[in-house]
Structure formats: C-alpha cells, structure tokens
Amino acid sequence: MSQNPTAKEQVKSGFRRAFGWILGCAWFGLVIWGITNVFGTEANFSEGHHPSRALGYVLLGVAGVIFAATANRWKRVFPGIMLAATLGALLELEQGHAVNNPSVLIPRWIALVQLAVIAVVAALSFTFKKRPLNIVDRIALLAFAASIFVGGDEATRQELPLALIVGGVCVLAAWAYDRLQRRPDTTATA
C-alpha cells in the first residue's frame, strides 16, 4: 500500500483485516471440532451425533497444515495475540482462575509459570513478525499452538503446564536457530 492510502485502499484494508479474523475464528472452530471428535465421548455429542476419531484426526491435520502454510500471512497479528495472552496470564495470576471462567481455578504458581512462558514468547514474537518464516519457525509455532491447548488442559487440572513450557522452548529454539543462521561468517573474511 502506498504511503498515503486512498479511502478505497483503507476500506479494503479494513475489510481484509476483519475477514482475516473471521478466517482465524473458522480455523479455531476447525480445531475445536477436531479435538471434540478425537478426545470427546458420546456425552459430548447430542442425540444422533457420534464422535469420529478418523474425522477428528483429519480435521486436526488439515488445521495444522493450514496453520503452517499461512504462517507468513498471520504472523503480523502474532505479537498482538501474545500481548493479549500476557494480559490474560496476568489476570490468571491476579484472580486465581481461568480468564472469563471463575469456576476453573488456577493455582498462583501455575499461573506464574504460564506468565513467564507467555511473556518470553510475546517478546520473541516481534522478531518473527519482521522476517520471513522458514520451516523451523513454522514447526515451532505449530508446536507452541498445540502446547496452548495441552498446557491449558494441564493448568485447568492444576498440574504443571509442561506442554506449554516445551512449546515455549520450541519458539525459543527457532529464534536462536534464526539468529545463528544470520550471524555473519567471520572466518570467511579472514
């Protein structure tokens, strides 16, 4: 877009952003549908509906491929999502329960671990936004996304969110790998 965008360009940009969020919600819905089918029981389905493990795995696979393939498109909102997540982690720490869910209690020490991991990933997310993402970045981000679901489940069961820590380490490793790749080769100039 040009330095001084026209009204039409700004309207287009606004609709593009809104449509992007709708697509993001659709992706999240795909994941929820997949998880419900893979891990759900008959109790999670209304009459006439039954869980299908195969369908669930297909849905999660498709969602994973979409997530990795479109990473360069959604990476611009990644820091914003992580900043909001940092606020969420602070709220959990202060309130002692899941965000918007007072009945789901989260011990303070677990909330503190979550806050530490989320804050580190939030800080790193700004570096991801600035550069084209390679396959290592995409896999690391996919692992982190999966860790939010698994780690969140662990936290709601009042267990150490080990998965979230592993996901955070994956993002940290991807960042470190990129730094190493970009480091100028000092031996070549000698």
Partner: protein, 164 residues
C-alpha cells in the same frame, strides 16, 4: 396507538429473536461476568461449532489465556460466573446474531479532502501528526486482538443492558 417498542416486541416474539440477555433479578455487572466467556473469541467460536455440529464441549476454557476476552476479564469478575453451560444458555441466540454488528472491530479512518483537521495541513503540526500517525500505525497489528475483544465487550454490554 401502538408504540415502536411494542412493534419490536411483536416482531421479536414472532421470530423467537431475543435482544436482551440479562436474566430477571440479575444486575448488569452480574450479566457481564456471567456471559464473559460467550463474548470472547474462543467462547463465541466454540458456541458456533457446538450449535453447528451438535456437540457440547468446553475446550475454550483451556485456551482462555489466549482466546479469552481480556477486557471483560479485567473489569468483570463474579462468583460462579464461569459455568460454561449457564453462560452459553444466557447468551444463546444473541452472541452470534449481534456480535457481527460490532463495527468497532474495524477502524476505518477515511483519507481525502474534507472531514477532520484540514487546518493542520497548513501548519507545522502536519509533520508532527504524520510522525504520530506512523507510530500509531506501527501498533495497529498489535492492537487488533484488543479491538476484537473490545467489540465483543461492547456487544455484551449492549445486550446486558436489556432484560430478557
């Protein structure tokens, strides 16, 4: 003579269409706390999936740190408000219908002649505002999640202002 509100009530009754989500005897703050999960990205998406696929899940509570509504989480907190089923029940039929009308998700600042501060174009303030605009634009991507949350919070506040 039939008033406009009476006409709206008749239309609502015919369509099974309810605007208000506040239960009888419930305060506005209690309503906001009780429906906070439904009016978050995660809760609204999960409710849509549940209705569309005939499922009953509460996965969004495990991802609430990311998909929860930080704005309503920051302001409203009430005992027992996190019961997903009651929250879904209170918000059913309203969140999906009215959430889409939250025009404040998109900030469309129209360029071109006319409208806002034209006088600044002829002063030294123009450079300042161009620079400030660039800095504000730098934070636009980062603010989008908060803007979506603010839109959902606005829709919830509007619906909680009206009794069922």
């Amino acid at each position: 003579m039939v008033s406009r509100s009476e006409v709206l009530c008749v239309v609502a009754a015919n369509n099974g269409f309810t605007l208000g989500i506040r239960a009888p005897g419930q305060t506005w703050s209690q309503c906001m706390a009780a429906n906070a999960n439904t009016y978050s990205i995660g809760g609204a998406t999960e409710l849509t999936v549940n209705v569309a696929t005939g499922t009953n899940s509460n996965i969004s509570q495990t991802t609430s740190i990311v998909t929860g509504n930080g704005i309503t989480g920051l302001i409203f907190e009430g005992p027992g408000a996190g019961d997903f089923l009651s929250a879904a029940g209170n918000g059913a039929g309203s969140a999906l219908t009215y959430g889409r009308r939250t025009s404040d998700i998109m900030s469309l600042n129209l360029a071109g002649s006319g409208g806002l501060p034209q006088v600044l174009g002829s002063t030294g303030a123009q450079g300042f505002f161009q620079t400030a605009g660039k800095w504000l634009n730098l934070g636009l991507d980062e603010a989008e999640k908060f803007a979506v949350d603010a839109g959902l919070a606005g829709a919830e506040a509007f619906n909680c202002a009206i009794h069922r």
